[in-house]
Symmetry: C2
Subunit: 327 residues, 2 copies
């Protein structure tokens, strides 16, 4: 089978590609060809047929080029992130809305030229489609009233995905990822960055800053779980979804205090001692508007699985990023 | 003040214009200028300054032309209706999605050129943004999972409206109209047409066909109430809306049996006798997927008002369309 990954150079994209290559297939079908695209050329794994190239999904003709070889499964992970989409209104709409629509439309046009072509499309959405105020736990039928342009663009992508799927142009599924924790790499300036850095840095023997109170609760899943969601979304039977093609993924609701206690259990007091409390009103205010907890019943019933404890989330990081060793 | 009505030649558009002219203003401000646009040139009322012209909102430059004179209030009523948007995928997306986005973007661009320009925008959405299965009564926080391309396009318009409002580009409000009953005019082929025709035709002494069982319940408001929603939306304080700019309008949940009993009270047994039952499985199946009842608490709290009984809906029609006389 032929798999196209758009956004293959990003953190999740790279992990997804590694998983596909390691598995050698998807849903019991052999991986015959990989097409990898991002704004910078993704790395092409060895030992597999395919191509990796740089392209801007929102540029004329690029989507048609990606789809012209008729991949069986298309992972659409490409997006301008929240902060940038908020800072650059035009760019956010161009990449996140126009790019997504161009992709969907290119698939439809390919199907009009080659009747019967209707690939599985896995679209990464986000819990940013929701906006405060929230109920204590957000159910599967809660409305999408995003408070960012990024969330708006993702919510529109979900609607398009559902309509194109309903019309039979492709077989789409949208998955709303929790905040990914622990993100590997260096600290970034995202307001959510501290959720990862207060664990990642101490696990590597480095100090970290906690800008919010210990009582802050948020919704998490590991990168490993996120890749699992993508693979499951690409292979599950979409019949039970009906017309409701977008799903909140399961995750783990945890307070910062619970994160820290998990860190203590995995890496000891000396790791916890590396966290410095430095309250930041701005970050605290932003985070206060974010979802705390979901009841992702539909996704769970469909077999999507996330971690059940923060210890598991930390151990996944230690295994996948640190070679099993804690500093 | 300067009011722009896009979609001014349609049934609701014409009634809105007549109301604005009769009132001589909007929210206590004198109506100084009217700009009326539709795909066919709307009729320009006498005695008021302004212009009426034909234009396609989705054609290049047209939205900028409409907005270039900086109207204070913009009513956006233009749309390809449900059946046509389903039959012609490209046309529906071009008019209902691109046209709406071009309008919103033209307003933003006008504001970038003339800082401080941020008009009130009233967008007519629809209960078609919702899709079955439904709870017994649909609350204000129920999610939008449309089952038509039209509903998808309206839901996307809502999201864009909320984001452009949140960013301060305009002061928008989206109102989801109930099924309008009694629609004046001749019977049309819309699946919902019978809700009006089983009342309108007998009131005029003409026979009508009822294709569904008497037990079918649906959500209604009169054209007069719809115009009232629009005027209220144009003048209310949007501050209490926060970022949640789209509202399900109040309406009346009534079964076909209740509609018929109201007809009997207003126009007698001879009117009811003109209704011929002719079951149509296709229509019945379509209607079964439609919302039955809403709890429009937010809109009611904000002062939006619909009819409380079907007798009122019928009397509004007799007064507004039949000069007070029943056949």
């Amino acid at each position: 089978m032929h798999v196209l990954v758009i956004g293959a150079a990003g953190m999740i994209g790279r992990k997804l590609v590694a998983r596909l290559v390691a598995d050698g297939g998807l849903g019991g079908r052999k991986l015959g060809r990989l097409s990898l695209v991002d704004v910078v050329a993704p790395e092409m794994p060895t030992g597999i047929e395919g191509r990796a190239w740089a392209a801007d999904l929102s540029a004329s003709g690029e989507a048609a080029c990606m789809v012209g070889t008729r991949p069986d499964v298309i992972f659409h992970l490409a997006a301008i992130v929240s902060g940038e989409a908020e800072a650059d209104f035009d760019k956010g709409y161009r990449i996140n809305l126009d790019g997504t629509r161009f992709l969907f439309e290119a698939i439809r046009q390919e199907g009009l030229r080659n009747p019967g072509y209707a690939p599985r499309v896995v679209f990464t959405s986000s819990i940013a489609v929701f906006g405060a105020p929230f109920p204590e736990a957000i159910g599967d039928e809660f409305f999408t009233t995003p408070l960012t342009s990024y969330g708006t663009q993702k919510a529109i992508g979900e609607l398009l995905l559902a309509d194109y799927s309903r019309r039979g142009f492709f077989d789409g599924i949208g998955i709303r990822l929790p905040t990914i924790c622990i993100r590997p790499g260096t600290p970034n300036k995202a307001a959510s960055g501290f959720f990862s850095s207060i664990l990642r840095e101490p696990l590597a023997g480095q100090p970290a800053v906690l800008p919010v109170p210990d009582t802050v609760m948020h919704w998490h899943a590991s990168p490993r779980a996120a890749v699992g969601f993508l693979v499951h979304a690409a292979t599950l039977d979409t019949q039970p979804l009906g017309a409701r093609r977008n799903l909140t993924m399961p995750g783990l609701a945890a307070t910062v205090a619970e994160q820290i206690e998990a860190l203590r259990r995995v890496a000891g007091d000396k790791a916890v001692a590396l966290i410095r409390r430095e309250p930041d009103e701005t970050v605290a205010r932003i985070v206060a508007g974010w979802p705390r907890r979901f009841e992702a019943k539909r996704a769970e019933a469909l077999g999507f699985k996330a971690e059940k404890t923060f210890d598991e989330i930390i151990r996944a990081h230690v295994e996948d990023e640190l070679g099993g060793r804690v500093a």
